[in-house]
């Protein structure tokens, strides 16, 4: 029996040592030599092989969105690899639908560049930059939402389309030893291009929101990259419905600034939902937009107005308020920002009221 246990111990130690050796070889000894990455069939990057595609692209100043810093746990860093990536790894499959796999979509943090490869990325990613900024202001909007203003230092200005988002870098702090990036919609005026405002809602025990709410202070340096995303106003003049809840307010503030800047008087009704009046915010800013934008109307909706409080506005869910106010939305466009559950519920209501699916806009990436 003792001999048997010793044999097992020896065999497992040898396997562990071999596995460790393989990892070390991969890291320090194996040299994959120079490799070429062809981007969108045009741009060629000559790089040293051996690193994950996400890292190689970042070194080349091409920023692919990523939320977990490349550990394969967020599924955000998707890129189309047309050629040279090898088979899909087990670490990737939980994040890729069958259609995406058939379409050569891969997690760029899991694909190691070992030979020449060809990739396809949206052109707008070439405009993404890394920004160093300073936290210039923190304003409490509700009991669980704050507006953070960041003054850009290097580079000192950003060009973005209202509706786009940035990836905020969250450093290590007490209780969290990992550096992560999280996406936040830009809530500032696109013309005020030397700063970025974010409206952030605290997520209980969330890595980045705990840092923002409990650790980040005015004057602190903060890194972010962006802009990303194709959520934006269409070019048409169809009447619009915006629906948001909680921090979903952010991109609409930016879009309303843009409409103000461009004297856009498109008809728009903005339904903003909260559980109680305490969840509502930016009332006076919305009033200012109503005064300057002829076609704009703000409709706060409260699900549970507390008894005794004099709430005269819309009640119930935002989707119920939309259903009460509209019977036919076939000529409207819909814009959504909020929780995935709210987005799904709103799409159902919009389509039931005749709005074509292709006229419903939201950030698909969740």
């Amino acid at each position: 029996m003792a001999a048997f246990i010793v044999t097992i111990l020896i065999i497992s130690s040898i396997s562990a040592a071999l596995a460790a050796l393989l990892v070390l070889c991969e890291k320090y000894v194996v040299n994959y030599g120079p490799c070429k990455i062809t981007v969108n069939g045009e741009k060629e990057l000559n790089i040293q092989g051996g690193k994950p595609l996400l890292t190689v692209l970042r070194d080349e100043k091409i920023f692919i969105p990523s939320a977990c810093g490349g550990r394969g746990t967020c599924g955000v860093c998707k890129v189309k690899v047309l050629d040279g990536a090898g088979p899909v790894l087990a670490t990737e499959t939980p994040f890729l639908t069958k259609e995406e796999q058939a379409d050569n979509v891969r997690l760029s943090c899991q694909v190691k560049v070992r030979n020449d490869i060809a990739i396809e990325i949206p052109d707008e990613l070439f405009n993404v930059r890394q920004y160093e900024s300073v936290c210039a202001g923190i304003e409490e909007l509700t009991y669980d939402m704050k507006r953070f203003s960041f003054e850009l230092k290097n580079p000192p200005s950003i060009k973005f389309v209202a509706g786009q988002y940035v990836q905020l870098f969250c450093p290590k702090y007490k209780g969290s030893n990992e550096e992560v990036y999280r996406a936040y919609s830009i809530a500032s005026d696109p013309n005020a291009n030397n700063r970025v405002d974010l409206i952030i809602r605290r997520v209980p025990n969330g890595i980045c929101t705990t840092w923002c709410f409990d650790h980040l202070k005015e004057g602190d340096p903060v890194k972010m990259n962006g802009p990303y995303g194709d959520f934006r106003l269409s070019q048409s003049d169809a009447p619009m419905i915006f629906i948001a809840g909680g921090s979903g307010m952010a991109p609409f503030v930016s879009i309303l600034h843009y409409m103000q800047n461009t004297h856009n008087n498109r008809k728009v009704k903005y339904f903003f939902g909260g559980n109680t009046p305490k969840d509502l915010c930016l009332d006076s800013q919305m009033k200012e937009f109503e005064e300057s934008l002829e076609g704009f109307e703000f409709v706060p909706v409260v699900a549970n107005p507390p008894e005794g409080e004099n709430w005269t506005g819309e009640t119930g869910l935002v989707t119920e308020a939309v259903q009460r106010q509209f019977k036919d939305l076939s000529g409207h466009e819909g814009y959504l920002c909020g929780s995935p559950g709210m987005i799904d519920a709103s799409i159902k209501v919009f389509t039931a009221l005749g709005m074509p699916e292709e006229k419903i806009y939201y950030d698909k990436f969740a």
Binding site: T73, C74, P94, G245, S339, A366
Partner: protein, 159 residues
């Protein structure tokens, strides 16, 4: 007790802050398998199995989901629930493909005011791994508390 390399990796993952603030083990010095064993024994003593707890949590989550973060009564006059979801996903710390929406459901007893919050990942970890998280973890579910809050007033067949 000698741990296999896989067990060691799992324990390190559960104690690390890679996936959640403070890790899944919190300040608990026990081995994760001890946590599982002791919680399973405690549940047994209370006459329930982990699958029943997970099923009840799932049922309450489904009940709350359509109300988009607003309270809904789950047991007339006794229990209300709400469920909030956030963009993004969380992965199970066990080495298998498992991705869960970031959703927090809270149940509140209307008689005692006791509250219990859990995430979709908690439901999976309880059902598939018998893991209620370590003491001091933010989403540690105390089996006794869960039974009190989620099952009080239910008949045997409803459990």
């Amino acid at each position: 007790m000698k741990q296999s390399p896989q067990e060691k990796n799992l324990e390190a993952m559960l104690r690390s802050t890679k996936l959640v603030v403070g890790g899944f083990m919190g300040t608990d010095a026990r081995h994760p398998f001890e946590v599982v064993e002791q919680d399973t024994a405690e549940l047994e003593r209370l006459g329930l199995r982990r699958e029943q707890v997970a099923r009840r949590m799932q049922e309450l989550t489904e009940r709350a989901k359509p109300r988009l973060g607003n309270w809904v009564e789950a047991q007339a006059g006794k229990l209300r629930v709400k469920s909030e979801d956030f963009k993004g996903v969380l992965t199970c710390p066990w080495p298998h493909p498992g991705v869960f929406e970031k959703r927090i459901t809270t149940a509140e007893r209307l008689d005692t005011g006791q509250k219990l919050s859990w995430t979709d990942l908690n439901i999976h970890m309880i059902e598939s791994h018998g893991f209620f998280e370590g003491r001091g973890a933010f989403f540690r579910i105390e089996p006794g508390e869960a039974v009190q809050i989620l099952f009080e007033g239910l008949t045997l067949s409803q459990k």
